[in-house]
Each structure stands twice: as structure tokens, then as C-alpha cells.
């Protein structure tokens, strides 16, 4: 029973999580952040946003579905709870990412016919921007809709070292870094090779080392 309780307590646990500290504004910066949806589904559904800031600026520009605009704090995006930082691009990479988001995000958002499930939704936006802008990071498995590829689709993974083939019912993501992730009706299970973690459809989506 002790083991069971320990497993329960650890179910949404990740170690070496990135600290929620905004980098200084001496360089162009783009952050990929997700936050949990409101109660009672904050542990099983997350929403992503990109926070972008050019060198010297004090305000962040938020790119997301259903919001956006400017913000003082890139991690305070109401009503989303328990923010997690998944990716940071700085300097020339940050400037390229800002230019790409400004080019790719507005037309994608304008053409969006939103569907909560299976997509396209806010997580599909995050996934598409990561791939179009060549930003190597993974959205958590609880970002349901990140794997939306239409009725049937295949692509490179956002990390860039794997492939995935998806339908709304079943999907598979396999990669050198990504490990193996099985998707069932949008829920993901599997294991990440690097950083090592079990993939679970709860909380941050990982039981192990935080993705970075």
C-alpha cells in the first residue's frame, strides 16, 4: 500500500523543472509556456502560449489561441493555472523565432476553425508553430490536440528527431529523443528517451525528468 500511495503522489511529478524566471531583455527571447485549464480539469488538459520579446523591450508579446496581446509577466496568463516552461530561445535563435511567429501565427489563427477535440485547437497551434518555425521542443502530452493531423496525417516530430502518424483515434510518435508515445483518443502514454521519463496523461505529462 505504501508503494501504491507513493506512486499516486508521484504521478504528476517531474524533477529538474525549468524555473519560472524570465530571462533578461539583453537579447531577443521566445519562451514556450503551458498552463493548466481551469478546475476541475487542470491536471488533464493544458494550453500553450509563446511569449516573445525583442532585445531592449520590457513587454512580452503573447501568441496563443483565444488571447494574446502584451504582458509584463510571461508566466501569468489568466485563467491558466500551474504554468510550466518548456522551451527558451535566445539571441539569434530568439530573433528568428520572433520573425517566424509574426509571419506564421496571424494567418494560421485567422484561418482556425476551432474544435475542442480532436483539434485543431490551441495545442494544435503550438505544435504547428514549433514545426514551422523549427523550434525544437515538445508540448506535454496533456496538451490534447497537439497531435492533430486531420483524419490521417504524418509529420516529423517537433523535436526534429522522430516521426509521428496520427488519426483522431490512434496515433504513434517515435523518435531518437522522443522515445515512444502512443495516442489513444488524444490521450498519450509511453516513455521519453531523453530526458528520461514515463509519459502519462496527467499533470505535466511526465513522470521523471522534465523535458528541455
Amino acid at each position: 500500500m505504501k508503494l501504491a500511495l507513493a506512486l499516486v503522489a508521484a504521478t504528476s511529478c517531474t524533477v529538474f523543472q525549468r524555473p519560472l524566471v524570465a530571462p533578461p531583455n539583453d537579447q531577443a527571447t521566445v519562451l514556450l509556456v503551458t498552463g493548466g485549464l481551469g478546475h476541475p480539469i487542470e491536471k488533464i488538459a493544458r494550453h500553450p502560449w509563446f511569449a516573445a520579446r525583442r532585445a531592449g523591450e520590457t513587454q512580452w508579446t503573447i501568441w496563443e489561441v483565444g488571447g494574446g496581446g502584451s504582458a509584463d509577466d510571461p508566466f501569468d496568463n489568466q485563467p491558466y493555472l500551474e504554468p510550466v516552461l518548456h522551451g527558451v530561445w535566445r539571441g539569434a535563435a530568439g530573433a528568428d523565432a520572433i520573425a517566424c511567429l509574426e509571419r506564421e501565427a496571424p494567418p494560421w489563427l485567422a484561418a482556425l476553425h476551432y474544435r475542442v477535440w480532436p483539434g485543431p485547437n490551441s495545442n494544435s497551434f503550438g505544435d504547428v508553430m514549433l514545426r514551422r518555425c523549427d523550434l525544437h521542443a515538445s508540448l506535454p502530452v496533456t496538451a490534447i490536440g497537439k497531435d492533430y493531423r486531420g483524419l490521417v496525417g504524418a509529420s516529423w516530430t517537433t523535436e526534429g528527431t522522430g516521426l509521428q502518424i496520427e488519426t483522431p483515434v490512434l496515433g504513434l510518435r517515435v523518435g531518437l529523443k522522443e522515445g515512444v508515445e502512443i495516442h489513444v483518443l488524444g490521450l498519450g502514454f509511453g516513455f521519453d528517451l531523453w530526458p528520461p521519463a514515463l509519459i502519462v496523461p496527467i499533470g505535466s505529462g511526465r513522470l521523471g525528468v522534465a523535458d528541455r
Binding site: 501504491a4 499516486v8 478546475h39 476541475p40 480539469i41 488533464i44 489513444v184 496523461p201 496527467i202
Partner: protein
């Protein structure tokens, strides 16, 4: 009473119980479970691990009995290894709301189950009884039992030694620790649960544990 007769009687009862449930403004309860379970047959030394989700809903009016249905989708592995799956769609059922987000329901449906190399693929005709109720602010009890009649799998027929009227049976009782909320007038809750599971199949008794996370939402 034969097994077929008892299944038919239960089905008619569910139809009668659920009639008229959608006649006026709906109210109800929705439950989502994400869980993983492992059951072990000590005699044979084999095991079955499944993970997936269960989505159940109760929708009706002020009538005593409301419509109850659900979807279970689970996949995993046997021990020794082999892909295993179990999916059930419950379309015909009736139930009653307990408090704001609790319920007691019974539903019948159709599904499929099997495991590579160890369990013949079968068409399932399951009947599930489900009970959930809050105990105070943080605790919630979860119970479910499922009897299954199997088609197209003669090797799994009459596999429940203590329940001869069905082919297989499984049950879980769990306790959830979590939170309850009322946002915008909508009662809801979530939390992690741990429980014991029992299964009778292939002429043997299987015992194991279930871990999971569940969300419940009720109409205002």
C-alpha cells in the same frame, strides 16, 4: 433462468427505467477516469495490466431514473508479454444522481477484448454497475462491477468460477483523495485514487490494484 433470459430481462429493465429521461431540461453528472490496473492470477502465475480511460455520463430530468451511458477504452499487456485491449461502449442504461456529482448507474453495451497469444479475441456484451459518492470535502468512494457475456471466444466461456451466470466478471473499489470545487455554480472535483481490483476469468480468480485520476462534474 438461462443466461440469455437473464440478460434480456436486464436489458428490458434498463429500457423501461431510462424512458423519458430526456424529456425536459437536462441535468446530470459526467465522470472521467484515467487509470492503470494490474491483476495477478496466483495459481497460473500470469497477469494482466491495462491502462486507459473511462468516460461515463448521467443525463436526465427530475425523474427518479436518468439515462446513463459510457465508454471504456483500455490497452496494455499480459504477463508474460502480449498486447491486450478492452473497450466497451455502454449505450443503454439508467441511473440516479447522488448528491451533486455522485451517481449510481447500471448500463449494458457492446465491446471487444483480447490479448495476443493468451486471450482469444471476443465480442463483449458487458453490463456494468457503477457507484460514486463524495465523503466529505476531500474523499470520494468509487466502485464498479462488470459482468461480461462473450461471443466468438469459446475458450473464455464460463470463465467465472463463482458467478456461473456470466462468462467473466471484474470489479474495483477505490478511494479518491482530492478536491471539490464550485466554479460559476458548477460543482466539480478531481483527485487521485487507489483501489483493489478483482477479476474472474478463464476459470481463475485474479486480484490486483488500480491507480488513477478522476474528474467529476455535475450540472448546477
Amino acid at each position: 433462468m438461462t443466461r440469455a433470459t437473464s440478460a434480456m430481462a436486464l436489458t428490458i429493465g434498463l429500457v423501461v427505467g431510462a424512458r423519458g429521461a430526456l424529456a425536459s431540461p437536462p441535468q446530470g453528472v459526467a465522470l472521467l477516469h484515467l487509470d492503470a490496473s494490474y491483476l495477478h492470477d496466483r495459481q497460473a502465475g500470469t497477469g494482466l495490466g491495462l491502462a486507459g480511460f473511462r468516460l461515463h455520463g448521467l443525463i436526465g430530468t427530475d425523474a427518479p431514473i436518468a439515462y446513463f451511458g459510457g465508454l471504456d477504452l483500455r490497452a496494455g499487456t499480459t504477463n508474460p508479454g502480449g498486447f491486450a485491449y478492452q473497450t466497451d461502449l455502454y449505450l443503454l442504461g439508467g441511473g440516479r444522481r447522488l448528491g451533486r456529482t455522485g451517481l449510481l448507474g447500471v448500463a449494458a453495451g457492446v465491446g471487444a477484448s483480447g490479448a495476443v497469444g493468451t486471450l482469444d479475441d471476443a465480442v463483449d456484451l458487458p453490463v456494468e454497475a457503477l457507484f460514486e459518492a463524495n465523503l466529505g470535502g476531500r474523499l470520494r468512494v468509487l466502485g464498479r462491477a462488470r459482468a461480461v457475456w462473450l461471443l466468438a471466444a469459446p475458450g473464455r466461456a464460463d470463465g467465472a468460477p463463482h458467478f456461473g451466470w456470466t462468462d467473466e466478471l471484474d470489479a474495483t473499489f477505490a478511494v479518491r483523495v482530492g478536491h471539490r470545487y464550485r466554479d460559476s455554480g458548477i460543482p466539480s472535483g478531481n483527485g487521485y485514487f487507489v483501489g483493489v481490483s478483482y477479476r474472474e476469468a478463464r476459470g481463475a480468480q485474479w486480484v490486483g490494484a488500480t491507480l488513477g485520476y478522476s474528474v467529476d462534474v455535475g450540472s448546477p
